[in-house]
Symmetry: D2
Subunit: 336 residues, 4 copies
């Protein structure tokens, strides 16, 4: 059964809107950042990573965002282009904004953290009149990401993107992607996450992220079914709630829930797991696979990324994911 | 036919949220403000005026807002109390915010302007967690006003108020009340006006205000019917579009439109006409009157206010409005 | 002995720089502002008041400042012009700034307070390149006022005015006039008050204001002589320290101190006492009078102002001050 | 002849105040940053570099500044400690400020640029009450740097540091170090550079930096002697004006000027030349050398730094500078 039906007559498969930044990954791992001396530069940001992942899977992709008018901004645009992503809908900031940075620290495979630079960043300066209606109208699926809601005018740009998607029958996926930076209060976060989620077909977040969205509501047991049911009263068809090591559960409007098996991995770091999972899952949905198979594909894609040093650069192809699943099935991969 | 059904089992009739400020009306009229020397102080702000009007009509009223911790703030709270309005849901700012001011200038009955003080005002500092869910749950009708959407955190407070109203079956009226102060751009204005209007049962605005809301849409002829039809796809039941001297038209979900006759008045100034009209119209609706009779009652209330020096203080009682209509019917009132 | 020598060859007597605002004086006195209903509008701001006072005394006066581009700003400019003050060096704000307001509350002759509106005010937007070098070069005495140091770019404009005054041999008087509004911290205040005071010939402040300036210094007994001596190591020739009811003391570089007798007055309110005192004292100095006679003249001028409803409008002429002294000498005036 | 006399009875030689940041130097040189993929991390910031240089020369050094409460901040503190610099006067920001970053781009030895991150940086949040009076009182020489004047409260902290230095007889050197970031206008820059320079014994800047300081003055020919003479009317004893490839000239209060020979170098990049020059020159002065010998030592130190990949890390020891001069004298070093 198809829980979500994608429009057939669109020139592009996928368009994402939101954060584009630079990851600076410490070359020396398993130590605190005070002791690292060099960093390697990658394109980052959750929606950028998902978009790169979708493009690696062969989808026709577009990105709506804003980059700084500097070397970092041009590096991002160039990288997206080299990955086959349409970049004509990227605005270039003219106010002196900078590119957001994420310095990663890998103390151990399970103790990772990020040092963010999010002041005066170009991606949050995307204006509603810079959102291309035709780019959204021309795609089957729009992905929005929570960090783009954290500040004006990017917040309004995303809201306007949602209006265009509804108007043109585009499916919308919402990756909650909560980051505390730049939000002013938990209440502000809850209000805008809810306003956005009301208009989305697919909502993906961690249990903690859904808790944030329920700040003004009663769900004392943090019951997934109460959480999911709320959104089915709006536009949602699928709500995925991630429970960390206990795995993810997809709830669907028919009242059923879905789980997929997980795979072993030689983990280097945890960054990028959610982005590759989202790309894999959405790819599966668009291919018409079952929810379970889509989730499994997402899980395997995530395993590949967390076994690598980067996020965006490590996004796998379909063949690589299928190979990972096959090797895992043959017992050739063991956990770290 | 009742286009809007108000819930019966609520302890209060009416709750408003938003701007509370001070009007400083020039005592010397028919001259520029450069030549006025003294001012009289009144409570002002569109939702405050409407709430005072509703209270004068005998409705049980409540106000959700924020006042400065100074003499101006205490004057406002005291005036509302003396007018029988519940003030226990007014928060008091503790950050040093001031009370918004509106100095009025009456050069002639048709040439009036306002000099606004809207920097660092207490009313825009209302936070979502200061919005009383029980105050909204306990009223039949919630009025929101557009100026409260102009800045955070008041913007989020209004959005949360809308959530509470939907949750508890409270009818919502939206007085668009566009004021350019404190808004950053026309696009920002359009985005938030639309997000709010989607959740409202009754929307009241001028043609120009609806034009602002259609910034990202196609309505080249500025056709009222296209404008109204959009909102009937959301929650709206009545959309009133005001065309200045040409009068107002109420559009209803059944496709019909409604007009009411107007009354002559000895106009002193134009301020407050919209607020008294809204109070009169909403009062009529709550009484179960026809749309036409409600509009007529609103028009007569407006005539009384524009024949007076103040706005809030001039809000009439039901008997005064009825008397005005009767005298007008007898030809005892002529235009200025 | 002349402690300060004024340059002889200057076309103007006096130029002031800094705050220009509107006083809104409650018409109903001896009650809290919660109970007042009307206000009368006057030009206000310490340097404006002093400048108006000097002009009433017959001095040729100029003002360097910035007014809002609205009715309040034009009212200020017109009032200065009608008082014979040169206004060609007033810049007009084009950024949407407002005119500072001071609502006065007179609960009793000794219990007065002010409710200030100082957000986004035009006077603090005066830029250093808007300070006329020729206006300063052409005056014998420049008055600066502490409130203009509270924010950029007005802060830099005053510093640049001081540079011009030193370059052209203009005497500088500093009225400390501390107001807590708009300053970010006590440390910031101390730093800029000191930077300005180092370049001034005459410094006038209350004991509390000098305490603020000594935040980073040791004067545990709050000893006036230690306070004054510090400034004599810089450019100061006269330091006046005001001790409220105990009267003012003028310290001079030769080590002597000076006191003047005070006069009885029928006090309505305390506002404006310092400004009229400063005008009277500086006028006396410029006339070549002794410090004692100048202080006495200042005291009598202050008595006239505090016996009146306004500040600027009540600034007396020389004849009025002389008459007040004469009547007081004859025992015709008794305290309230 | 000693143009500057350093106090003898101080426990420390040198204290610097101001910018502490991180340099991220591209590992791949001679290409635009769009094509670089990795960066190496160093401590940076002009006063930090000079302080590290002084410490390498064997001077007892202290630093007054503010670091972020994160891995970058701790890296800076640790590096200073490992270089023998006292760090007990470094405040730690608690407001969520970040560490300033400088990404360097080396397109060619003569085409270098810097991409700065200066929003919300910890070093500019140093408050005047965080400046240790005893740290300044206990040093022979205080170095201030122009970038610390660019914003409050760091601006006031530097002004307060100057007050302490004057009070305790500490010699003050001012490295103008103009960076456009974070300054609001050229006028603002001129005002604060002048206020600081008035209190300094040694002023070091480029011709362009002195032009900025003369924004409100007449020096149409940009005449070094007019520039220097202005400062000798205040506290200055030595004014060094740098003319790029034409070399630097030191002007002294006695009216004489001084030049030193330069050395050949195999230039990798130009960054850090000014900082190593300042360290070398100030070291020479403190050793009681002639101005010419001090300038020569500074020039040789600069040659060593511009032949290296980093700035701070490449700061030489006395032996290394002496060796460079000796080898140069023997003709063993040729220009790149």
């Amino acid at each position: 059964m198809a829980y979500v039906t994608f429009p057939a007559d669109k020139p592009a498969d996928f368009v994402a809107i939101g954060r584009l930044c630079i990851d600076l990954n410490a070359n020396e791992i398993n130590r605190p950042m005070e002791e690292t001396v060099s960093f390697t530069k990658y394109v980052g940001g959750s929606p950028a990573n998902i978009c790169i992942g979708m493009s690696r899977f062969g989808m026709k992709c577009d990105f709506i965002g804003k980059v700084a008018d500097d070397q970092m901004g041009r590096f991002i645009t160039g990288y997206l282009q080299r990955n086959g992503i349409e970049t004509s809908h990227l605005a270039v900031d003219k106010t002196g904004a900078v590119t957001g940075l994420a310095f990663t620290e890998i103390k151990s495979p399970t103790d990772c953290s990020i040092l963010m630079y999010r002041d005066n960043v170009a991606d949050l300066k995307l204006q509603p009149d810079e959102v291309s209606e035709s780019a959204i109208a021309g795609a089957k699926l729009l992905l929005i990401s929570g960090t783009a809601l954290a500040q004006s005018p990017s917040r309004e740009a995303v809201m306007q993107a949602l209006n265009y998607a509804k108007k043109h029958g585009v499916v919308v996926a919402f990756d909650v992607d909560y980051r505390p930076y730049t939000w002013k209060s938990a209440e502000e976060t809850a209000v805008y996450y809810n306003l956005a989620a009301e208009k989305c077909d697919i909502i993906i977040g961690t249990r903690e992220e859904f808790d944030m969205m329920e700040r003004f509501e009663a769900n004392p047991e943090k019951d997934d079914r109460i959480t999911a049911a709320k959104w089915f009263d709006y536009d949602a068809k699928i709500v995925i709630i991630k429970h960390g090591k206990e795995g993810s559960i997809a709830y669907t409007k028919d009242g059923s829930s879905h789980r997929a098996r997980s795979f072993p991995a030689k983990v280097i770091k945890t960054f990028g797991a959610g982005d590759s999972y989202a790309a894999g899952f959405l790819y599966g949905l668009m291919k018409g696979w079952t929810i379970e198979k889509s989730m499994e594909f997402g899980s395997a894609a995530a395993c590949i990324v967390i076994s690598s040093h980067s996020c965006s650069d490590a996004m796998p192809t379909v063949a690589q994911v299928e190979d990972y699943i096959a090797r895992s099935n043959r017992g050739e991969i063991t956990a770290s």
